[in-house]
């Protein structure tokens, strides 16, 4: 007879990541058919761009979404990246949480998603179809074609087909996933997502065919890759207890002080010993033997120790010039400007804020401003109101810069505002990873960037408004001329045309002078005080 505990033990089993995903797809961006389609495109495109940039070549990405039936779509993404070695193809595409970027302290797009395998799994769950992959890693290398599924219980790849095919490029990857989804236009559409990607990554060329068979080409505007982001070791200020415990358990270092100085940036062996001393732990203890209590003391000691900021050159901002190029090529405006702020640090993580702005042109002036939010060059399309970027924009008084704004709302006006946060670790408010968390240091940097760009906007608006006013004045004179001429003609008996022509000549000749005249009030106007008196006396004396 089995005990109850034994019975329960038999029922308990390890829940695989894949199974977990199946039950919690909403956490990962697959909560409805519209988002599922978007997330799939996003995972594939982000992967392609990261891989291509890593190879230091200019990315060219083909995206096609075919509508197979009312709810079924085929997403095909082809890139000119380095490809994936044959042995790894099944794992990269058909095993969850398998990847080269996970846990690496480096600015990249991919760390945001759970990986392309999530999309493969989603497609498999909704259509039962395998994902189709072609990968080629070099000119004289074969192109491998795989059809892959995921074993949901084991989180292991299932190879349905494995063969060598023709692939008409030297290197690159083609991924095709069939899935249940829904296509729509608008603010949160795939079309808009790709447009924003094109803006934030002007060095990328994207050729896109949407389900309506419209071909949209986002042309490359910059022939230079952005600065390469560098891997850096984590900074002690950013480490949390769980992570520290795992690092301690996995460490190959012989002593705790050695562990601290080897695994973290900006920790010298002397500083490592100081930290151990503060935490009241022997510096030469084996990392594996550090207890939970001691780990907590260690975290506290780190916080109390002054450690210099992490190196800041690991980031890869878009750059002011590229931001402007990106905006220019996709959206017509009258005025473009961009700011890349100096890198800064929150909780030990380097980060950098960039802001781009367009005024006028095709943008409509009588609605809320348009906004593009980016994290590591990836557009954020959801949870706008929860985002630190939105909050920062709302908290600035845009009236000072020539826009109208209701209290607690985004400003109104013909403006597009792009805000980019680049970081080795972008803090999101939730697992959905669509809104930046409200760290004071990040908000401060966004605010400074926005104020700076606001001043530029205000200056431009003032200048153009002034120019417009001058133009209006000049045209007012033009309108007055026929009136004055006709009155003078009645009075003097001279011909109206003659007077009119002559007045036009005078206006043309001295236009500049006339417009420079700052209106200092009519010389014949009566001074305020006097006019009041006069008014009174008029009342008393005059009809």
């Amino acid at each position: 007879m089995k005990t109850k505990a034994e019975e329960l033990a038999e029922l308990q089993r390890e829940i695989s990541v894949s199974e977990f995903f199946e039950k919690n797809r909403h956490l990962l961006g697959f909560d409805n058919p519209i988002r599922a389609l978007g997330t799939t495109v996003r995972e594939l495109v982000d992967n392609s761009l990261d891989a291509t940039e890593e190879m230091r070549i200019l990315p060219e990405v083909n995206v096609e979404i075919k509508q197979l039936s009312e709810t079924r779509f085929d997403v095909i993404v082809v890139d000119n990246g380095p490809g994936v070695v044959k042995e790894q193809i099944p794992y990269v595409f058909a095993k969850l949480l398998y990847g080269s970027k996970f846990g690496v302290n480096k600015q990249s797009r991919g760390i945001q998603g759970i990986g392309v395998s999530a999309s493969v799994l989603y497609g498999q769950l909704t259509t039962g179809k395998a994902a189709k992959i072609i990968s080629k890693i070099g000119k004289n290398k074969p192109a491998h074609y795989y059809e892959l599924k995921i074993d949901i219980n084991k989180n292991e790849p299932v190879i349905v087909k494995d063969q060598i095919v023709d692939f008409r490029q030297d290197h690159g990857t083609k991924v095709e996933i069939e899935l249940e989804g829904k296509y729509q236009k608008g603010k949160q559409s795939v079309d808009e997502y790709l447009k924003q990607v094109a803006i934030a990554n002007p060095h990328v060329e994207i050729i896109y065919i949407n389900p309506l068979k419209e071909k949209i080409v986002f042309k490359r505007a910059v022939e230079k890759l952005p600065k390469e982001s560098k891997k850096i070791k984590p900074h002690p200020y950013g480490v949390e207890i769980g992570v520290l415990m795992r690092m301690l358990a996995l460490s190959k270092a012989k002593t705790l002080s050695g562990f601290l100085s080897n695994e973290f940036s900006r920790v010298s062996s002397k500083l490592a010993k100081d930290i151990c001393q503060k935490a009241n732990i022997k510096p030469d203890i084996k990392p594996k033997l550090v207890t939970h209590d001691e780990t907590e003391r260690l975290i506290k000691a780190i916080k109390e120790t002054k450690i210099s900021s992490p190196s800041l050159d690991c980031l890869s901002p878009i750059g002011e010039k590229a931001i402007i190029e990106g905006l220019k090529k996709e959206i017509k405006g009258d005025f473009y400007t961009a700011i890349t702020r100096r890198p800064s640090v929150y909780r030990g993580f380097p980060f950098q804020v960039e802001v781009g702005l367009i005024f006028g042109g095709e943008l409509s002036g009588d609605e809320l401003i348009r906004m593009i939010r980016l994290a590591n060059k990836v557009p954020l399309q959801y949870q706008q109101s929860a985002c630190a970027i939105t909050k920062s924009i709302i908290n600035i008084s845009w009236r000072n810069y020539g826009l109208s704004q209701s209290k607690g709302a985004l400003p109104e006006g013909a403006v597009l505002l792009m805000v980019h946060i680049a970081s080795v670790w972008v803090p999101f408010t939730s697992e959905a990873k669509e809104a930046i968390a409200h760290y004071p240091e990040i908000i401060k940097q966004i605010k400074l960037a926005l104020q700076d760009i606001g001043r530029r906007l205000g200056g431009y608006i003032r200048k153009t408004v002034r120019a417009k006013e001058q133009k209006e004045r000049a045209s007012l004179f033009e309108r007055y001329i026929p009136e004055v001429a006709s009155s003078l003609s009645v009075l003097s008996g001279e011909k109206k045309n003659k007077i009119e022509e002559q007045l036009k000549k005078i206006l043309k000749k001295s236009l500049k002078e006339i417009l420079q005249d700052i209106p200092d009030g009519d010389k014949t106007d009566i001074k305020k005080e006097d006019s009041k008196k006069l008014e009174k006396e008029k009342q008393a004396t005059l009809v």
């Binding site: 007012l476 003078l488 009075l491 206006l507 005249d517 009519d522 004396t541």
Partner: protein, 364 residues
């Protein structure tokens, strides 16, 4: 200024237009120059005893952001008057002039004038610029006056006996320049501020018993009435007596008739009457006729006005007037003409006026 004929008026306006066109022909930014009409340019001419415009000149140029519209308004008003009034010989009210000039400039949302005050102002400018009076320009204002007495006059060809028009009397037109006096039998003119006093005197046949010419304008003295009074004084040598409330507003009514007003200083010569006498009500009347119990307490506005009036250059050195104002302040009160009815409904006709005139109790 001598009265100009219609053709002169037209010529004057033509000159005005030609002068501007000449400047334009020379390629100059056209400029209109005229005497400033603000308080700083009002001069009290001791010799004539009238207010006049000083030497300060203002100018208005067309190609100037701040002046352009006013420049347009001035020439527009001038041209409307020439074309619509002078050429046809018709007269129009200030309100009509406003509507004749009010229109939207093609291609803009700007009106030549938005309010009557703008066309009125342009017209006053035109008076100063050309030296022509509003009346000469055929523009009239509200008529607000009546006249009863032994006078026969001709108005637009109609012969009018001002003694045979009942209780209402002759309604004085806005423009009185063109009236001709056929027969004037009255001995003096009594001009009064209050229409109700006028009615009282008409009912009492005061004008008949005393052979007076009664004139009222219901408060403010219009230009038409001022001109009429001046003509009666100058052409018919009639004494003019002014009867107002005992307050500084009443006093100012007299002041305007006697010395002229700030707003119309440019027209003083045609409007002021140096020989006009102030009959009452005076501070002495208040004492003599026991009106003290009918005093109305002075308010802040009254006190401020007393100070203002007493500092006017033409009252500053006038001991009689300074005394009146001083007493008004001491009473801390003012009195209406009608207060006399407390002594009897016809006290004013039977006693007050005859006595004052007989004893020549006037101020000037």
């Amino acid at each position: 200024m001598a009265k100009k004929e219609k053709s002169d008026t037209k010529k004057e306006l033509q000159e005005f237009g030609r002068d501007i066109v000449k400047q334009i022909d020379k390629g100059k930014n056209p400029e209109i120059e005229f005497a400033l009409r603000n308080l700083s340019n009002i001069v009290f001419d001791k010799k004539t005893g009238t207010l006049k415009l000083g030497d300060k000149k203002g100018s208005r140029t067309f190609f100037n952001v701040a002046h352009a519209k006013k420049f347009l308004q001035t020439v527009e008003v001038a041209s409307v008057i020439k074309k619509e009034l002078l050429d046809s010989g018709k007269h129009e009210h200030l309100r009509g002039v406003f509507y004749m000039t009010k229109r939207t400039i093609p291609g803009t949302n700007v009106n030549v004038v938005d309010e009557q005050s703008e066309s009125d102002h342009a017209l006053e400018d035109l008076e100063v610029i050309t030296g022509l009076s509003r009346e000469q320009l055929h523009v009239s204002a509200n008529k607000m006056g009546s006249m009863v007495g032994n006078v026969i006059l001709v108005d637009s060809g109609d012969t009018i006996e001002c003694s045979k028009l009942g209780r209402g009397g002759y309604s004085i037109p806005s423009i009185t320049d063109e009236l001709t006096f056929k027969k004037v039998n009255a001995k003096y003119v009594l001009y009064m501020e209050k229409a109700s006093t006028f009615e009282r005197l008409v009912e009492d046949k005061f004008w008949l018993k005393n052979n007076a010419l009664l004139v009222t304008s219901q408060g403010q003295t219009t230009r038409g009435i001022r001109r009429l009074l001046q003509r009666l004084s100058e052409e018919k040598k009639l004494p003019i007596y002014v009867l107002t409330d005992f307050d500084c507003w009443g006093l100012y009514i007299y002041s305007v008739i006697r010395y002229g007003s700030i707003a119309l200083a440019h027209a003083s010569e045609r409007l002021t009457i140096p020989g006009v006498k102030f009959l009452g009500i005076t501070a002495d009347d208040v004492l003599k006729y026991g009106l003290k119990k009918h005093l109305i307490k002075l308010n802040d506005q009254d006190l401020a006005r007393i100070k203002q009036v007493s500092e006017y250059e033409w009252f500053k050195d006038n001991k009689d007037w300074q005394r009146q104002l001083k007493m008004m302040k001491e009473f801390n009160g003012k009195v209406e003409i009608q207060a006399l009815t407390a002594r009897g409904i016809s006290f004013i006709s039977d006693t007050y006026l005859p006595e004052k005139i007989r004893k020549k109790e006037f101020l000037d």
